[in-house]
Symmetry: C2
């Protein structure tokens, strides 16, 4: 992606669907003084969105510059096609998390050259217009997926929308998008679920041995099943293609376990290590570049705040922070990453303030 | 596990192997004024451990009360058997992370009634005597695995050892231990590896869509391959048994994807959700009990410390904290968990101090 300065978004933007995403788009655009009109099949949702400052209600004479369709996935294609027909001068986009299905339907609709799909990679555990936030998209990727009929001006308008709400627009084809989210989101979700499902076989004290690794790998398995049933169903082919490759590797691991030859297991383990190093962000290569300081934090009010205050006073800059809650004891273990070489001075500073801190 | 008050650990404790674990045992026991003697095949390791205060060097007349064998896994059985023979009045334990192999060998040795194996669930990305810490075991589970010949007094001594170093002793049979760690540690490691391995297939902008879910599920896949080759090899049967059940579920998911019937996928997803709820600690059921506040943190020196100071001054107690580093922008997103109902007041406090904070 490249850094593009947001242009002024022309004319009124009509947001159809005042859920979390639609309301957040309205709030974020209003913060840039864009004229926003909001609409929803439920008048109560419009009322809340308007009251929260996400835009003004729809009137008959409106000629929108851009229509943002933020309705549930099952309704998206229909509402996009209706919008292209009703407002023949408007660009239209949607926010559906799997792209190819919508793209296939809309490409057959009149006005398809004015349509560019999109998928903001942002969400919340809450939903509805009350959960909307002007900052929801800040720093998040926003996939923008033009089709073959798409007019360049339509693509510009949707990239501009993503930039205005603070997101990072990433232009890719629908098919590439769906393959990418299968890889980075849908398959990890299935793998987390499969790992967590086995915990139901635990007996006796088995789970008392749980550590942070188990908690990290299974965190997303706690997500809403109905939502994931939808997502996996809509992106079934791409998810299955990746899962079949996972099964090949799994079969190789199962076959290699207990054999004297370490080559296969070693290959798979190394392939996993290489994979983690490809993930953008501080992950992966970080371990070598920082000192890790561990601090015991009692599980009682005020302890974490007190740790933060004492860490702040130490004058050491914090690169990263994790908190693990331990079993069996009213204590958690904080892991503070600081620049290479300053770990010991943070340990000293915290120890002198009464903390149990160590490298 | 039950809360047991640590008794006074009698007589000298001999630690054989001055690596991370052995040195940490010595340091932790010395903090309770237990007489500790340290030994290692490498005299330089003994020197460092002694200099760090982990104990005194071995002399010929020693009659240890307890011998802690903290040598590499491949040498453990031999050193345990030698120790049982050389010190006929001593209890002996080891710290090997897969239990059944050592147990099988040692049960045939003379003096096996004085042996109780153990596995402290603690580690560090660093190794050797310089990495040792008196706090390494604080709040961590320490599996204690008596065999059929084990004398009750030997079990008491090793439970007492775990309590003295601040760990939570969990008594279980070797076979149960190995099955448990396959479930909560070894299989999650393989699943994380298999997920990360697929990222090598990414093309173009695919990984630009990565989010915190991917980073969490693949974090442990970055671990040392040689270490995991050893662990998986030693616990091959238990790991394979669980992975075969994972493969059954995976086959069901692959078969169900793209079918109109949601029953199978729904079952697997729900099974995963139930599994996460079984993990001890704050994980799983937490989402419903806290307010989550999101704060943008610029990726520059001092920002996290400033956030901590401002959060501390707000007077709101922090339940949990996560930091996600985002791609494409010099900004991270902090997620702060606070008690239900006080999220808005933290948002207000941080906003008034110039932060971009939202629920």
């Amino acid at each position: 992606m490249t850094a593009i300065a947001p242009k002024a978004l022309d004319g009124p933007v009509l947001v159809i669907g005042c859920g979390l995403i639609g309301t957040s788009v309205g709030l974020a655009l209003r913060a840039h003084d864009v004229d926003v009109v909001v609409h929803d099949a439920l008048p109560a949702n419009v009322e809340i969105a308007v009251a929260r400052g996400a835009g003004r209600p729809l009137d008959d004479g409106l000629e929108p510059y851009l229509v943002v369709v933020a309705v549930p996935p099952t309704a998206a294609s229909t509402v996009v096609a209706e919008s292209l027909a009703r407002w023949p001068a408007a660009f239209v986009t949607d926010v559906t998390s799997v792209r190819s299905g919508v793209q296939r339907v809309v490409e057959l609709a009149p006005g398809a050259d004015r349509f560019v799909g999109g998928h903001p990679m942002a969400g919340s555990e809450r939903s509805g217009p009350t959960a909307g936030s002007a900052q929801l998209f800040e720093g998040r990727p926003w996939a923008v997926t033009p089709g073959s009929p798409t007019r360049p001006a339509a693509l510009d308008a949707v990239v501009d929308l993503a930039l205005h709400v603070g997101a990072v627009p990433i232009i890719m084809e629908s098919a590439a998008h769906d393959r990418a989210v299968a890889l980075v989101s849908h398959v990890p979700q299935v793998m987390s679920t499969l790992t967590a499902a086995r915990l139901n076989d635990a007996v006796g004290n088995d789970l008392a041995l749980s550590g942070p690794g188990l908690r990290d790998t299974t965190r997303i398995a706690a997500s809403d099943s109905a939502l994931w049933l939808d997502i996996l169903g809509t992106n079934a082919d791409d998810v299955r293609a990746v899962l079949e490759l996972v099964r090949d590797d799994l079969d190789r691991v199962i076959g290699a376990l207990g054999q004297d030859d370490d080559a296969v297991l070693g290959q798979v383990l190394e392939s996993g290590r290489r994979g983690t190093a490809l993930i953008p962000g501080k992950h992966g290569s970080q371990a070598a570049r920082v000192d890790l300081v561990h601090v015991q934090v009692a599980d009682q009010p005020g302890e974490l705040s007190r740790l933060w205050a004492d860490t702040g006073e130490s004058g050491v800059n914090i690169e990263d922070f994790r908190l693990d809650h331990d079993l069996g004891r009213p204590v958690g273990l904080a892991e503070i990453a600081v620049a290479l070489g300053v770990g010991d001075s943070l340990v000293d500073a915290l120890t002198s303030r009464g903390w149990t801190a160590y490298r």
